[in-house]
């Protein structure tokens, strides 16, 4: 290597904060009038420091992050100052802003698969930033194609991509999700910016991959002295990485404190509530105190024996086995938690039980109906005994129907109620999910995410089903809302006594609700047992790795866990 990259930028050395946001205000013009996304935010980031901006949706954290790079849409007006190495991003010219981007501050996006252009090699995309800034370098000469490639290889090596000399010529689809995020970070690092803004950098990734990316970001800080602004809603990630935490709520900074102080003694009421709502692995387990599997003598509602679900491949290539010889049973009144990362087949199993996917092998009996060779006409009578709660409450309601119509729909399909009966039943159901009865006349977009998910639960329960399938029902919700919905779910399950299959990627959430937990890995059920037992004494290597990867919202404990599990995570 002939090109020398300084580990630490000299000019940013001891000259005050890398980023200084002073009384920032951002206002959006929308159809419904002006929206004040960021009201009054001031914060500073010093060199080599990781500052996390946390908050729930609508808190203005992403808008703040985008302002740092001058990426706000045209409808936004901003005032105040965002100083990066003495340049005010808000007021500089477009040309100067382009110089600042990449050189002084770079961004890592949430979704690595969309942040990379699929038709160019990753090397080209990393070099693009270099070439855009060529001629402005210290020695003033244009970076040649060859030099740019060498720099790209070096950047890939720094983010831990194996064999960067070959991989530099790969296209994005040839990398896995975690590696793609590494490439995005490499592109951000290519020009050695003093500051990286990472907007939910691990939200789209599985926990085991998340642990790797968090380690990489930590290395950037420790080895290269890069400052990082971390935008996230995940308190575990904050506890794992951040030095200082800024809590935002509805466009304002609520609290700012060093990470350890904030988690130990949150001062503001909002922060306290937020932290209390975060599910913590090993606390509040549903199977607490259980010695053996509950309800095991009850009637078996779902029985899978060597269940295999295969998606057909393209012509000539073999099919993809989403579910591979999985066997389990689910009895009356039991809550079965199914955990796994993306691609583990957990959603496929849930959909197969609801008759949305076809099974291709083995046997799956749902309410004594064999799902292999499912016929919609013969299965339809069973549908009234199965409720389904979808992941995204925003998309699972028809935007043209009122909540009342949506909730009443199963009743109208399977029974023949008079409009008054239907209204009465909808009112009862809305009350049991703690929604005002007047909400029946509202349209889905007039409800918040948590309210919509409650309504969705009401819809699933209106026929008093024997079985409820909940597919990641809380993963689209904010933590405080998630906590309330989980609590409601628990209460209602006890009240109605239905059996439930609870599908989630979040171990902590599954543990709160489920008596019996199954862990899926690449289509196989690698472990099942009492929730408490699986979480505390995992048997399978994968379960161990999964639990070790999950960051807990407590910096001290998380640091200890990280050390303990280092060996497990690097394998």
């Amino acid at each position: 290597m002939t090109i020398n990259i300084d580990p630490i930028k000299d000019d940013a050395g001891n000259s005050g904060p890398v980023l200084d946001i002073d009384h920032l205000k951002v206002t959006f013009a929308t159809d419904g009038g002006d929206v004040h996304a960021v009201k009054d935010v001031s914060l500073q980031v010093n060199q080599g420091e990781v500052v996390a901006i946390v908050g729930e949706s609508g808190s203005g954290k992403t808008v703040t992050a985008k302002t740092i790079l001058g990426l706000l849409p045209e409808t936004a007006t901003s005032s105040g100052a965002v100083l990066i190495n003495g340049n005010n991003v808000i007021s500089v010219s477009a040309a100067r802003l382009r110089e600042i981007r990449g050189k002084d501050v770079a961004m890592v996006f949430q979704e690595p698969s969309t942040a990379l252009n699929p038709v160019f090699t990753v090397g080209w995309q990393i070099a693009e930033g270099l070439r855009a800034h060529a001629g402005m370098g210290e020695d003033g000469h244009r970076i040649s194609r060859r030099e740019a490639k060498l720099l790209a290889i070096d950047a890939l090596r720094r983010v831990g991509i194996p064999d960067p000399e070959t991989r530099v010529n790969y296209y994005p689809h040839q990398f896995s999700g975690g590696q793609k995020q590494r490439v995005v970070i490499a592109a951000a690092l290519a020009l050695n910016p003093g500051l990286i803004v990472a907007d939910e950098p691990t939200t789209a990734l599985d926990v085991t991959v998340q642990a790797e990316i968090l380690q990489l970001l930590r290395d950037l800080r420790d080895i290269y002295g890069t400052s990082i602004v971390l935008i996230t809603h995940n308190m575990g990630v904050v506890a794992d990485l951040a030095d200082r935490v800024v809590v935002m709520y509805q466009g304002d900074v609520v609290e700012e404190a060093p990470s350890r102080v904030l988690f130990a003694q949150p001062k503001q009421e909002y922060t306290q509530k937020l932290l209390a709502a975060v599910p913590h692995l090993g606390r509040n387990s549903a199977s607490e105190g259980m010695k053996e599997r509950a309800h095991q003598h009850g009637k078996v509602l779902v029985e899978a024996k060597d269940l295999t679900i295969e998606y057909p491949g393209r012509l000539g290539s073999p099919g993809f086995k989403a579910v591979d010889r999985v066997s389990f049973t689910l009895s009356e009144g039991e809550v079965f938690g199914l955990v796994g990362e993306s691609g583990s087949g957990k959603t496929t199993i849930g959909r197969a039980i609801a008759g949305l996917n076809r099974t291709t092998g083995g046997s799956l009996k749902v309410l004594d109906y064999e799902m292999l060779n499912l016929k919609e006409r013969t299965f339809k009578p069973h549908r009234k005994d199965i409720g389904f709660v979808f992941q995204d409450p925003a998309a699972s309601f028809n935007p043209h129907l009122t909540i009342g119509d949506c909730v009443a729909e199963p009743l109208i399909i399977h029974g023949n109620p008079t409009p008054a009966q239907a209204r009465q039943r909808v009112r009862e159901l809305l009350e049991s999910v703690q929604l005002p009865a007047s909400y029946a006349g509202r349209y889905p977009h007039e409800l918040s995410g948590g309210q919509r998910q409650r309504a969705s639960l009401a819809r699933a329960l209106i026929l008093n089903p024997k079985l409820l399938i909940a597919d990641e029902p809380t993963s689209a919700l904010d933590v405080s809302v998630q906590a309330k919905v989980l609590e409601l779910f628990k209460e209602i399950q006890q009240e109605f006594g239905f059996a439930a299959l609870f599908i989630s990627h979040d171990l902590a959430v599954v543990d709160i609700l489920s008596h019996w937990v199954g862990v899926l890995y690449k289509g196989r059920l690698v472990e099942q047992g009492l929730g408490r037992v699986v979480m505390n004494a995992p048997q399978h290597d994968y379960t161990r790795r999964l639990i070790a990867s999950l960051p807990v919202p407590d910096p001290e404990e998380q640091a200890r866990r990280r050390e303990e599990n280092r060996a497990l995570l690097t394998t």
Binding site: D31, T77, G355, A395, N398, P399
Partner: protein, 340 residues
């Protein structure tokens, strides 16, 4: 968090019905140049529709009238006096024929667009929802229809329906059916694409899970969500329908002057006049075509822009509520490109 809602913003259903009607809700959303374009389009379209409705009151003479109590009309008389836009070589009053022509145009639009919307929407829903061989066959047919020049279809239809004779009904039906045949694939494709997208939406799956029948899913859940773009295609197709009708008339497959007034036919007859410096017989029907098509296209393009939150300009304090200027120019260009 600036998460974009997966479904486009619909007009707030709680507003009174009046404010939710397509064009009115768009008008309320518009601002600046976009509003100007929309208003210009609406005014032109409004004049067009009013003229058609009030034709008997506005037109001083009948469309096929060549004489009145004072005797026969003079032929090729320049504008002025009793005949404000002059008379043609056959002695028809140009102004009256242009006014009566709006009625013919509007009838063709209504028949053509209504037929194609009904057939196109139904086929699109069924094809997109069920998929399989039915879908494949319909798509191939739709593609094949695209290959037909609409004029060819129109000529064939004119012969089939009226044996080549050009009566009012025959002429209008020939134009309308040919336009229908050509437009069905457009509605079909738009609705089919939307249906396929919506079929994968969780709310459709959620209806399936509770056991809703296919018909119920199609009518209750997909139909309402798939037809948002129809006002746009409607206005754009309306202008195309007029152009087809005019082209048919120009080629001589239109409607005889004794059956109805038709701009394309008048343009054809005006061809011979141009060499002798008689401009009024051609300019006025031509202008009528241009302005009607321009009006409808402006409305359509504005609705298109206003439907898309990214293209829509917004009011804001101290900001520019600008619309993109090239759109107006583009609309005119497109209108131009559609003429023969």
């Amino acid at each position: 968090m600036s998460t974009v809602s997966p479904l486009p913003i619909v007009a707030d259903p709680r507003q009174p019905l009046f404010k939710r009607l397509p064009v009115i809700s768009h008008f309320n959303k518009s601002v600046g140049l976009q509003r100007g374009m929309l208003v210009a389009g609406l005014v032109l379209t409004g004049i067009f529709i009013l003229t058609a409705l009030l034709a008997p009151l506005i037109a001083p003479f009948g469309f096929s009238q060549i004489s009145d109590a004072d005797g026969s009309f003079p032929t090729q008389e320049p504008p002025g006096g009793k005949h404000i836009w002059g008379t043609t070589v056959g002695g028809y009053d140009v102004f009256s024929r242009v006014v009566w022509g709006t009625q013919t145009a509007i009838m063709v639009i209504i028949v053509a667009v209504v037929m194609s919307i009904f057939i196109g929407v139904i086929l699109g829903l069924v094809s997109g929802y069920y998929g399989g061989w039915l879908d494949r066959v319909l798509v191939v047919v739709a593609d094949a229809v695209y290959a037909f020049p609409s004029l060819l279809v129109a000529i064939v239809m004119a012969i089939v329906i009226s044996g080549g004779r050009s009566s009012l009904i025959g002429g209008i039906l020939a134009a309308a059916i040919s336009i229908t045949v050509v437009f069905i694939p457009q509605y079909f494709r738009v609705i089919r694409a939307e249906t396929i997208r919506l079929k994968a939406e969780p709310f459709v799956e959620s209806a399936k899970v509770v056991g809703a029948s296919n018909i119920r899913i199609m009518t209750r859940h997909i139909y309402g969500n798939a037809t948002r773009t129809l006002p746009l295609i409607f206005t754009l197709n309306a202008s195309e329908a007029i152009l087809t009708l005019a082209a048919l008339g120009f080629l001589g497959f239109g409607i005889e002057p004794t059956s109805a007034a038709e701009w394309g036919f008048d343009l054809n007859k005006a061809l011979a006049d141009t060499t002798s410096g008689i401009w009024w017989t051609g300019v006025f029907p031509g202008l009528a075509i241009v302005l009607t098509v321009l009006g409808l296209t402006l409305v359509g393009e504005s609705i298109n822009d206003l439907n898309d939150p990214r293209l829509r300009g917004r009011k804001r304090a101290g900001g520019k509520g600008g619309a993109d200027a090239p759109t107006a120019a583009q609309a005119a260009l497109e209108a131009e490109a559609r003429t023969l």
